[in-house]
């Protein structure tokens, strides 16, 4: 893996926006690219650290496999949940077509 932190480009930002499902136009891409570049420049400081053999830390308090008895418990009211949806039908969330229309 390359160690140097290469500059983030407008193409990178456009790609990341697509991955993150954010519809942003070209001008906004340039604006974000300039801002994110300044932030990413600061991130180069950790390259000075020797991190070989350091165990990654993903959470502060290592609790694992929190289990409970497999018994029925109260759940959310489905009418109340569906009432918050932009569109619902027959007790389901309604969405536009999933396939076929994207270029």
């Amino acid at each position: 893996m390359a160690e140097q932190h290469s500059h983030i480009t407008a193409a990178d930002v456009a790609k990341v926006a697509r991955l993150a499902r954010l519809d942003i136009d070209g001008e906004t891409v340039d604006h974000f690219t300039a801002q994110l570049s300044r932030v990413m420049d600061h991130f180069g400081d950790i390259d000075a650290l020797d991190l070989d053999g350091v165990e990654p830390m993903t959470q502060p308090y290592p609790l694992v496999n929190v289990l409970r008895d497999d018994v029925e418990q109260p759940t959310l009211d489905t009418d109340e949940v569906l009432a918050a949806a932009p569109e619902a039908e027959d007790h389901r969330f309604r969405v536009p077509p999933i396939i076929g229309l994207e270029g």
Binding site: M1, A2, E3, H5, I8, D12, V13, V16, A17, R18, L19, A20, R21, L22, D23, I24, F32, Q35, L36, R38, V39, H42, F43, D45, I46, L49, L51, V54, E55, P56, M57, T58, Q59, P60, Y61, L63, V66, R68, L76, D77, E80, V81, A83, A84, A85, P86, E87, F93, V95, P96, P97, I98, I99, G100, L101, E102
Partner: protein, 475 residues
């Protein structure tokens, strides 16, 4: 000056006043001051008065409504309240009414507290000034030309202006402590896992923690006692009962070892440095021993945080897709609908962080960014562990600067991020820390001194916080 939560609860329980009177008084302050300050996204006056009558009826029947009987509390608008709009100050959740209450909201109510409203924040708690809100900025009650800090700026301003004696915020990288410092109130970020996160809208799940704002260290302890303790609904909740904290506040610091960090980076303003020296002197005079400690990886925490928090946020915020809740922008297919909804619903700072996080996690960059950040996080936790073998608590500034004018940093993300340099390491380590008002700095604005302690050492932290408060600098 407005009454403390402890005093309100005592008087309501004793029948010396009614909860209705208390709520009416606070609603009057809100209607007088919030037009200017904008601490609240929503004021729940009618339901608060109804709840107050319920408390008064219980007192009349000879029942004890609990340790927070009749105490008005303001709730950050990223905590779920059943049937009451919860927006995270984002257009994408405008109008959403959660189908359940956060555990902390349930616990406050069970203790007799009464919610008076939902407070403003930087959208999804991302920011340090409460300028990134879809509902306009909150103003600092001490000087309305300045920011209140953030992201829990509304909760800090509500307490600082007497609109509520106590409030709740959330702290992912300083979002309780920094606004507490900038508004001159007490703010506590508890140990990760001490307070249930069930019903807190997730920003960065390994860093987020809920905690109180208050006008005094005792009131903060009182609220934390109520909201802390194991919750089976949060798998990261520490399986221990709530600690006893109010009794610690007045115990003093005789015999405690207080760490002074040698070569602390961050470039704090000179007045902030001076207040810190005075805080050390006050604790020494009260019988504490001041010892030098080193945190060599401290300066790297900012980079680690601004990789880890956006990475987790990019995943957590994937759920806002226009399907199950919040707004939707209509489009021909689901992918176009997701992208159009998220583009219209999120503000710029949220978009920046989602993109930063997505980038740090993407193929080819994961090891260079996110993977490295997790290792730096370990170095920081190891630094603290070494330091705490030599001391019981550490003192440092909460914020390098006092409250700044609107617009100063909002278009320069890096300068805004540097506001969090002293608060972020605590979140990475999962430790508790609190900000206590301690005099003023530039422009007469409040300075907060931060007390840091090891995991689950809230009792020590409140002893030190109580001693700083007793040293009498106030805000």
């Amino acid at each position: 000056m407005s009454q403390s939560a402890s005093e309100i609860a005592r008087r309501v329980r004793a029948g010396e006043t009614t909860a209705r009177t208390v709520i009416e008084d606070h609603l009057a302050v809100i209607s007088r001051r919030d037009g200017e300050i904008n601490a609240f996204n929503l004021v729940t006056g009618d339901s608060a008065l109804e709840a107050a009558d319920g408390i008064d009826a219980r007192v009349a029947r000879g029942e004890d409504p609990g340790p927070l009987a009749g105490v008005p509390v303001a709730i950050k608008d990223n905590l779920c309240t059943r049937g009451v709009p919860t927006t995270c100050s984002s257009r994408i959740l405008e109008g959403w009414r959660p189908p359940y209450d956060a555990t902390v909201v349930q616990r406050l109510r069970a203790a007799g507290a009464i919610m008076v409203g939902k407070t403003n924040l930087d959208e999804f708690a991302m920011g340090s000034s409460t300028e990134n809100s879809a509902f306009g900025p909150t103003r600092n009650p001490i000087d309305v030309s300045r920011v209140p800090g953030g992201s829990s700026g509304g909760s800090a301003a509500a307490v600082a202006s007497g609109m509520a004696p106590v409030s709740l915020g959330s702290d992912t990288g300083g979002s309780i402590r920094q606004p507490a410092a900038l508004c001159g109130v007490v703010g506590v970020k508890p140990t990760y896992g001490l307070v249930s996160r069930l019903g807190l809208v997730a920003f960065a799940s390994s860093l987020d923690q809920i905690g109180p704002f208050a006008g005094s260290v005792t009131d903060a302890a009182l609220v934390l006692e109520v909201i802390a303790g194991h919750d089976p609904g949060d798998s990261t909740s520490i399986p221990q009962p709530a600690p006893s904290l109010v009794a610690e506040v007045g115990r003093g610091v005789a015999g405690l070892r207080i760490g002074r960090v040698v070569d602390l980076p961050g470039g704090a303003e000179p007045e902030v440095e001076t207040r810190l020296e005075e805080a050390f002197a006050a604790l020494a005079a009260a019988g504490a021993e001041i010892v030098d400690v080193r945190l060599p990886s401290f300066a790297y925490a900012l980079t680690a945080y601004y990789l880890i928090a956006p990475a987790e946020a990019s995943s957590n915020l994937a759920r806002y897709d226009g399907v199950r809740y919040g707004m939707r922008v209509a489009a021909a297919d689901t992918n176009a609908m997701y992208a159009a909804t998220r583009a219209a619903g999120f503000g710029d700072e949220v978009k920046r962080r989602i993109m930063l996080g997505t980038y740090a996690l993407s193929a080819g960059y994961y090891d260079a960014y996110y993977g490295k950040a997790l290792k730096v996080r370990r170095l920081i936790a190891d630094d603290f562990a070494r330091a705490y073998s030599a001391c019981d608590a550490i003192l440092m500034p909460t914020s390098p600067v006092v409250a700044f004018p609107f617009g100063d940093k909002v278009d320069d993300p890096m300068s805004m991020y540097l506001c969090d340099i002293y608060t972020i390491p605590t979140n990475l380590a999962g430790h508790p820390a609190m900000s206590v008002p301690f005099g003023t700095g530039a422009h007469g604005m409040p300075v907060g001194i931060q007390v840091l302690a090891p995991t689950l050492a809230e009792s020590t932290m409140f002893r030190v916080g109580g001693a700083l408060e007793a040293a009498g600098r106030g805000a």
